[in-house]
Symmetry: C2
Subunit: 138 residues, 2 copies
DNA sequence: CCCACTATTGATAATGATTGTCGAAATCAG
DNA sequence: CTGATTTCGACAATCATTATCAATAGTGGG
């Protein structure tokens, strides 16, 4: 058990492509990002996209949420982003960032009241955005 | 396209067994409920458990949440239950019901502000319960 | 600049949860 | 009781994700 063989990440072509492709606005599945990359001419493999996204989530550069159907959706975080939540359209996926400062402390409070520690919270707000509603898809 | 051939659910042995087995306290996966049923002597099939749980979610008798790993977890609702949320232990799964009345209206408010309609929200609070923390599993 | 050492890639197989299929069995109405 | 239909259950199929593994390509040292 040597302390740590610090694994240094290599900057590869595909890693760069994925970072570039990632949008800070829309939540998309790994498969969806992969399709987009391929249609933009990249030859990156699906497994690589999954691996890169996981690494990015771990390093805090990417945000992920689990959709109702169980798919994991990814989106790039803004640099120096604070913890926040989203209001996502169930039809087209467009997401708006929202701030729920009250809830941050509320979560802590609830946890304390029940003796639960290391509280994490997920707030998922979904709805139908104006465009989709207008298009009768709502 | 006849208006509606109102499908009436039949009360079968397996449906009864599943309803009986369902606990109102713990969230468990369909597979987990199935295992429990089998170990209690039932011969119910896995697909049947999935079907029954879905039907029960649709009819509002069962509550479901999606875990971080993407599994769907089920729990029976108390009769005449209001909409509410849970604080669930990440280690042992024990869940406590919590009430967030402020949030109910907050969600509506946020939706209106962005023009989103048919707002649904999910609040998932997870932590480590006192027992698990004491056992050093937190 | 070139090389060896490894991390990384990508095609594909494997996994795990969930859903579809279909003949057989069971429920409910009359 | 009897027949029309639903529901069952075993198993195949699907879908997202992860593991495998030989081939490839960054990187640091010379």
């Amino acid at each position: 058990m040597s302390p740590d063989t610090a694994p240094r990440p290599r900057m590869t072509r595909q890693r760069r492509e994925i970072l570039d492709a990632l949008d800070t606005r829309d939540f998309r599945s790994a498969q969806s990002w992969h399709e987009r990359l391929r249609s933009d001419g990249s030859t990156v493999g699906l497994a690589t996209v999954y691996r890169a996204l996981q690494a990015l989530v771990d390093s805090g550069d990417v945000d992920s949420v689990v959709s109702e159907s169980g798919e994991t959706l990814y989106r790039r975080c803004e640099a120096g982003e604070e913890h926040h939540h989203h209001l996502r359209c169930r039809v087209c996926g467009k997401a708006v960032e929202i701030d729920v400062p009250e809830f941050e402390e509320f979560a802590r409070h609830i946890g304390d009241a029940h003796g639960y520690g290391d509280i994490r919270h997920t707030i998922e707000l979904t709805g139908v955005c104006p465009e989709c509603a207008a298009a009768g898809r709502g």
